[in-house]
C-alpha cells in the first residue's frame, strides 16, 4: 500500500483504537486510578461509616483519628461522613451539568457549523458567554434566586456549553467540506440526515473529551460557588463543608476541616481532567488527518 493509503487507514481506526490508545496512555491510566480510588472510598464509606453526617456528636473539634478519619467540626459532625454523603450532591450537580452542557454544546455547535445563516447568532452568543467573567456572573445570578441544586445545574450549564459548542463548530465546519458529505448530498440525503448520521458521529469523540473535562470543571465550580454561599449551606456537600469551615475553622484552629473536601475535589477533578486531556490528545492527530 502506498503511504497515502496507509495513512487513511489511520483515520478509520478512530473508533476502535481510541479506547486502545487510551488504555496505553499513562495520564489516562493515572486518572482512571484516581477515579477508581475515589469511587471505592465513597461507596465503601457510605456503607461503613457509623456516623450520620448531620449528627451532632459530643466529640467536637477533634483532629483526625481512627474513629474520625477527617476529624470533626465545631458541633461534632464527623467530617468523613460529611465528605462521603456530600459527594453525592457534588457529583450529581457536576455530572448533570456536564451532560446538559455537552448536549447543548454539541447541538448548537453542529447547527452553527452547518448552517451559515445561524452561525452569526449562535457563535455571537457563545462568544459573549465565553468572554464574560464566569464567576461574578454565576454569583450574581445565584444570589438572585432560591438556592437549589437545580439552580446550580442551570448556572453551570449556562457557562459550560460555550467552549464545547466552539470546538464542535470548528470540527463541523471542516467536516462539512469533505467530499463524502457532498457525495451524501448528491446521493439524496437530506440536511437533517447528513447532520445526524454523518456529522454527529464524527463529533462524538471531541464531545466526549470536552464532556469529561466539563465534569472536572463543574465539580470545582459548584464547590466554589457553594463555598461562597450560593446554594444551600445546610444541605451537606463539599462546598457546604468548606463554607462552614470558612466561618469557623480558622478561629478554632481546626486545620483538618478542609482536608476532606480538598482531597476529594483533587481526586475527582484531577482524575477527570487527566482522562479528558488524554482523549483530546488521542483525538488530535486523527482530527488533523
Amino acid at each position: 500500500m502506498s503511504i497515502v493509503e496507509s495513512s487513511s487507514k489511520v483515520t478509520t481506526r478512530l473508533k476502535g483504537s481510541v479506547l486502545g490508545a487510551l488504555f496505553r496512555s499513562r495520564p489516562a491510566k493515572l486518572g482512571g486510578l484516581l477515579l477508581l480510588a475515589f469511587f471505592i472510598i465513597i461507596i465503601a464509606g457510605t456503607f461503613l461509616t457509623p456516623y450520620n453526617p448531620y449528627e451532632n456528636t459530643p466529640d467536637v473539634n477533634a483532629p483526625p483519628s481512627f474513629a474520625h478519619p477527617f476529624g470533626t467540626d465545631n458541633v461534632g459532625h464527623d467530617l468523613f461522613s460529611q465528605v462521603v454523603f456530600g459527594a453525592y450532591s457534588s457529583m450529581y450537580v457536576g455530572l448533570v451539568s456536564a451532560i446538559g452542557s455537552s448536549i447543548i454544546g454539541v447541538v448548537v455547535g453542529t447547527l452553527a457549523g452547518y448552517y451559515r445563516r445561524l452561525e452569526g447568532i449562535l457563535t455571537g452568543t457563545g462568544d459573549i458567554i465565553l468572554t464574560f467573567p464566569a464567576f461574578p456572573l454565576l454569583i450574581l445570578l445565584g444570589s438572585m434566586y432560591p438556592p437549589t441544586d437545580e439552580l446550580l445545574i442551570a448556572l453551570l450549564i449556562l457557562v459550560l456549553w460555550a467552549p464545547i459548542a466552539r470546538a464542535v463548530r470548528s470540527q463541523v465546519l471542516s467536516l462539512k467540506e469533505r467530499p463524502y458529505v457532498d457525495s451524501a448530498r448528491t446521493g439524496g440525503m437530506k440536511d437533517r440526515q447528513i447532520i445526524v448520521q454523518i456529522l454527529m458521529p464524527q463529533v462524538v469523540s471531541i464531545a466526549v473529551a470536552y464532556f469529561v473535562l466539563s465534569v472536572a470543571a463543574a465539580v470545582v465550580l459548584v464547590t466554589s460557588l457553594e463555598f461562597l454561599g450560593v446554594g444551600n449551606p445546610d444541605i451537606v456537600s463539599w462546598g457546604s463543608i468548606l463554607y462552614w469551615a470558612q466561618q469557623f475553622a480558622f478561629y478554632l484552629g481546626d486545620w483538618w476541616w478542609v482536608l476532606g473536601p480538598g482531597l476529594s475535589i483533587t481526586l475527582v477533578a484531577l482524575g477527570f481532567a487527566l482522562i479528558g486531556f488524554s482523549i483530546e490528545e488521542v483525538m488530535n492527530p486523527r482530527l488533523r488527518v
Binding site: Y180, S183, T186, G187, G188, I198
Partner: protein
C-alpha cells in the same frame, strides 16, 4: 450561430451521430462569484469570478469533455450542475426544468437522474461506511427501495457492472480497498439509482497512470450499455480525446473553444488549446522532446480589459488587449473566443 444550429449543420454534412437531438442539459450565461479572504492577518477581500458567462449544451447520448486547468472554474461548473452550489445568475436547465429552482421531491427526482463521480477516491467515501452501505444509500434515498433483499440484489448487480466481486467487497471499509477499487465503488454509487446523466469530475486524475485507461474503458462500456450521457471534467487532453465526442476548453471561468474533439485536438483554433496540447506529456524519444517556458497564470497578472489569455498568448495583438473576444464560429462546427484564431481557412477534414 448557436451550438445547436452548428451541430445541425454538421449533421447535414453526414455526421448522423449528433443529428436531431434536443439538449439534455442547457446552460446559459452562468455566473458564479466567490468572495475570498486573502491573507491570514489582513482582511483583504478579493472577488473571484469562478464562472463568467458560460453557455453550453449537452446532448443525449454524447460525451462532452470540459477541459481546463485549476482555476478554470470547471469544478464550480460541475457543482452548479449538480445543484451543490447556487450560481449568482444564469440558468441551468435539465430537460427544461430549471435546476437552480428545484426543491423537495423534484430535487430528489433530479438527483436520481443526474449523478456525479467525484475526483478523490480517498475522500469521497465515508470512512465509516462499508461498500454496501455506501452504494445502497442512493438507491434507498432516490429510488425509494427499502427492502433489504432488493437492495442487496441491486447493489451486487451494480458492483459487478463496475468489475468488482460483490462477495469480496460488499462488507469492506474504504481503507481496505485500493485507489482503483475505491474509484469503482464511486462509479457504482453514481450508477446505483440508474441516472441518465453522469458528471465525471476528474475521475482518473488521482489514480496511478497504469489504472487510468482501465477506469475510462469501464466508463465507456457503461455509457454504451446504459445509454448514458456523460459530462467529463478533466485537465487531461488524452482522456478527452479517447472518451469524448465534443470538447469544450475552459480558461479562467470562460469557454474559449468548443467543438468536435478530433477537430479541436488536431487543429485547434484557440492558442490556449494549442498551449495545453504542447504541454501534455507524450511518450517520445528524448531527441524529439522540446521544452518551452511559458508564463503561468499568476505571472500573467490580472487583466482588466480585453482577452484574459492575452498576457500569455504568443499571437496577441492590440485588439486582444482591448476587446474581449466572443465565442463565435470559426469553422463549420467549432466555436472559439479569439481575435486571431489558428487553423482557420483550412479545409476542416476529419
Amino acid at each position: 450561430m448557436s451550438q445547436v444550429q452548428l451541430i445541425g449543420k454538421e449533421a447535414e454534412g453526414g455526421d448522423a451521430f449528433l443529428s436531431g437531438r434536443r439538449p439534455l442539459l442547457s446552460i446559459k450565461d452562468l455566473q458564479v462569484t466567490f468572495i475570498r479572504q486573502r491573507g491570514l492577518f489582513n482582511r483583504r477581500k478579493s472577488i473571484v469570478r469562478a464562472v463568467q458567462g458560460i453557455s453550453l449544451e449537452l446532448f443525449e447520448s454524447e460525451i462532452l469533455s470540459v477541459v481546463g486547468e485549476s482555476g478554470s472554474g470547471k469544478t464550480t461548473l460541475a457543482r452548479c450542475i449538480l445543484a451543490l452550489n447556487r450560481p449568482d445568475s444564469g440558468s441551468i436547465k435539465y430537460r427544461n426544468n430549471e435546476v437552480t429552482a428545484l426543491k423537495g421531491g423534484e430535487l430528489m427526482n433530479f438527483r436520481r437522474d443526474v449523478q456525479i463521480v467525484y475526483q478523490d477516491p480517498y475522500e469521497s467515501l465515508n470512512p465509516r461506511q462499508d461498500v454496501f452501505t455506501a452504494v445502497s444509500i442512493p438507491i434507498r434515498q432516490l429510488a425509494g427501495e427499502d427492502s433489504k433483499e432488493k437492495l442487496t440484489e441491486r447493489v451486487a448487480k451494480v458492483l459487478r457492472e463496475v468489475g468488482l466481486d460483490p462477495s469480496a467487497v460488499m462488507r469492506r471499509l474504504p481503507h481496505q480497498l485500493s485507489g482503483g477499487e475505491r474509484q469503482r465503488v464511486n462509479i457504482a454509487k453514481a450508477l446505483a439509482p440508474d441516472p441518465k446523466l453522469l458528471v465525471a469530475d476528474e475521475p482518473v486524475t488521482m489514480l496511478d497512470a497504469s489504472q487510468r485507461l482501465g477506469v475510462l474503458s469501464l466508463l465507456m462500456e457503461l455509457k454504451e450499455k446504459r445509454n448514458l450521457t456523460i459530462l467529463l471534467i478533466t485537465h487531461d487532453l488524452a482522456s478527452a480525446r479517447i472518451m469524448s465526442d465534443r470538447t469544450a476548453i475552459m480558461y479562467l471561468g470562460r469557454i474559449v473553444e468548443v467543438g468536435p474533439t478530433s477537430k479541436i485536438l488536431n487543429k485547434p483554433h484557440h492558442p490556449y488549446t494549442q498551449l495545453i496540447l504542447a504541454a501534455t506529456p507524450r511518450l517520445k524519444r528524448s531527441s524529439e522532446v522540446k521544452r518551452e517556458y511559458v508564463p503561468s497564470v499568476e505571472e500573467a497578472g490580472r487583466v482588466e480589459r480585453g482577452c484574459v489569455f492575452a498576457p500569455r498568448c504568443k499571437y496577441a495583438t492590440s485588439i486582444c488587449r482591448d476587446t474581449e473576444p466572443q465565442l463565435l464560429a470559426k469553422s463549420e462546427s467549432s466555436l472559439a473566443a479569439c481575435h486571431n484564431p489558428l487553423n482557420v481557412n483550412q479545409a476542416t477534414s476529419e
